[in-house]
């Protein structure tokens, strides 16, 4: 048994490593092409140059400052928009009345690309934090809303009937049956909204900001610091991946019971 576990873990490590093979290979190729002079430094600086720029920026504290500002914006937008979406998803999933009065409105708003609201948002909020918070919250709202609603409405009605017959109070029924049953779907919504969260934030910061990664990239463009621009883009990619990894870990922890996750978490005992 233990031997099998060891072998399994070895395989897992190898598999986790293999995910990064292609990105690393691309970077090596890029470095080689730059060194060979096939890619001009003022078009696309070599990875080593970008790394060097990153190191300098890190030492001056500037990079961390911008990353911190961006992360804070992203997370606060996610929390605000996500909670509202979660709330409406639950309410409309449980209550016919609530669904009748709000769902049509929400579906209409959903079909307006939220980034198209940027001019209006700037007029309303200026270029302050509220503008970014509003846009990110609006962007993450819909995936979470729709998937929560879907999750609640597709909870096995037989389980709900069982809960009723076994005398569960409405609250117990919600906590023990409806919410856990909707959770897989809610996680799908969360992972979708993480992607939208970064996208929205970057666009918003690129257009108008006084700090943050998008601002850093736009400043660098003004001074033709291509390495910093590329650095910002790479950091976006890494942050996006990081958010996805965190969401996956949460998912695995919360959905241990799900047959699809049992292999990854090992023996449920």
């Amino acid at each position: 048994m233990s031997q099998r576990n060891v072998r399994f873990n070895g395989g897992a490590v190898l598999r986790a490593g293999s995910q990064w093979a292609v990105p690393i290979l691309l970077i090596v190729l890029w470095e080689l092409l730059s060194r060979a002079g096939l890619i001009a430094g003022n078009v696309l600086p070599a990875p080593s140059a970008v790394a060097f720029a990153g190191w300098r920026s890190l030492q001056s504290g500037e990079l961390l400052h911008h990353m911190w500002v961006s992360t804070l914006r992203a997370l606060s937008g996610l929390v605000v928009g996500g909670l509202i979406g979660f709330f409406f998803g639950i309410a409309n999933g449980l209550s016919e009345l609530s669904r009748r009065y709000t769902d049509t409105t929400l579906q209409m708003i959903r079909n307006v690309p939220h980034l198209a609201l940027i001019p209006l948002v700037i007029l309303w909020f200026g270029i302050d934090e509220e503008a970014k918070l509003f846009l990110v919250a609006l962007g993450v709202f819909f995936p979470i809303y729709i998937n929560t609603l879907h999750g609640v409405r597709t909870v096995d009605p037989q389980l709900i009937e069982m809960g009723r017959v076994y005398g569960m109070s409405p609250w117990t029924l919600f906590v023990k049956v409806v919410l856990p049953g909707a959770l897989p779907s809610i996680f799908v919504g969360l992972r979708f909204s993480l992607g939208i969260m970064w996208l929205t934030l970057i666009v918003a910061e690129t257009i108008s900001a006084e700090a943050g990664l998008g601002y850093m990239a736009m400043q660098a463009r003004e001074f033709l610091l291509v390495d910093i621009v590329v650095l910002a883009i790479l950091i976006y990619a890494l942050l996006g991946k990081l958010a996805d990894v965190i969401a996956r870990l949460l998912e695995q922890a919360a959905l241990q019971w799900h047959p699809a996750f049992q292999r990854m978490t090992g023996d449920p005992k």
């Binding site: 037989q158 389980l159 009937e161 069982m162 809960g163 009723r164 017959v165 076994y166 005398g167 569960m168 109070s169 117990t172 023990k176 049956v177 856990p180 049953g181 959770l183 959905l255 241990q256 019971w257 799900h258 047959p259 049992q262 449920p268 005992k269």
Partner: protein
């Protein structure tokens, strides 16, 4: 709830289950019960009296109203007219139902699924202890920490039985709980059902398609046809019953004849067999 609490406390002490009352069951009375779905009368002016502690099997073709009858008895549905009295008894222990599907919560481990059957007043360590004791009664105490998804169909149904028994119900409704199991597991489960019923003497109403299952378990078999009681037979055989004995086969023939009308060949056989008794 003091009575049930006292009973529960005894479970912890791990004594064999027996009740202070002569019978752990409640009587069921239906008077003039009609249930309509639109124009169709699924149950039509039904009168039925089931003695406390009796094991009754209800058989009938699909759509004859037998499941509707069960749903009315456990309060999942209300009659269009008529009167139903499921005596709650002093303990007020609720009626419980076992469905055709196990209906376990996949996100709760086996033990927590059994605890679903306990009233919310029972808390903490006592809750676990009672659930564990009942799980042991159905022979699954070693699976308490598993997820339901790793259990076999028969094991899941045993967990569902433990959940139904957790609150020591005085009336247990069984909606074809063994219908989806393979033949061998089904016989095993029939034995288990009979054992817990003999121990606890709750009133049991089993809805089934399987006439031989009805005869293996029940004191009384009721055949429902087009919303009426078409046949009401006592099954006087001693327990444990031997499968495939001549008397059982005779009764089975009688029920099947009534189910499929008189055109079948079986009536001739049944008549031939009759003089032998």
């Amino acid at each position: 709830m003091s009575l049930s609490a006292a009973r529960d406390a005894r479970v912890i002490e791990d004594e064999p289950v027996h009740h202070p009352e002569k019978s752990g069951g409640v009587p069921l009375v239906l008077r003039g019960v009609t249930r309509r779905f639109g124009e169709k009368r699924v149950l039509d002016n039904l009168d039925l009296h089931i003695r406390a502690g009796q094991f009754v099997a209800v058989v009938g073709k699909s759509g004859c109203g037998k499941s509707t009858l069960l749903r009315l008895l456990v309060g999942l549905d209300k009659p269009s007219s008529g009167f139903i009295d499921v005596g709650t008894g002093e303990g007020g222990n609720p009626a419980r139902i076992m469905f055709q599907e196990p209906r376990l919560l996949p996100w709760q481990r086996v033990l927590a699924n059994v605890e679903v059957g306990l009233p919310p007043e029972v808390k903490g360590a006592r809750r676990h202890a009672i659930a564990r004791a009942i799980l042991a009664e159905v022979g699954l105490e070693d699976r308490a920490g598993e997820w339901p998804s790793v259990l076999s169909g028969g094991q899941k149904q045993r967990v569902a039985l433990a959940r139904a028994l957790a609150s020591r119900p005085r009336f247990l409704a069984l909606d074809e709980p063994l219908g989806a199991l393979d033949a061998l597991t089904r016989i095993e489960m029939q034995g288990l059902l009979e054992r817990v019923w003999l121990e606890q003497k709750f009133t049991a109403v089993l809805v089934t398609h399987d006439v031989s299952e009805a005869l293996a378990l029940a004191d009384r078999v009721i055949l429902i046809d087009a919303g009426h009681v078409a046949l009401d037979l006592n099954v006087p055989f001693p327990r444990p019953r031997r499968r495939g004995s001549a008397e059982v086969a005779h009764l089975e023939g009688q029920i099947l004849d009534r189910l499929f009308g008189t055109e079948r060949e079986a009536p001739a056989n049944a008549h031939q067999r009759l003089p032998a008794h």
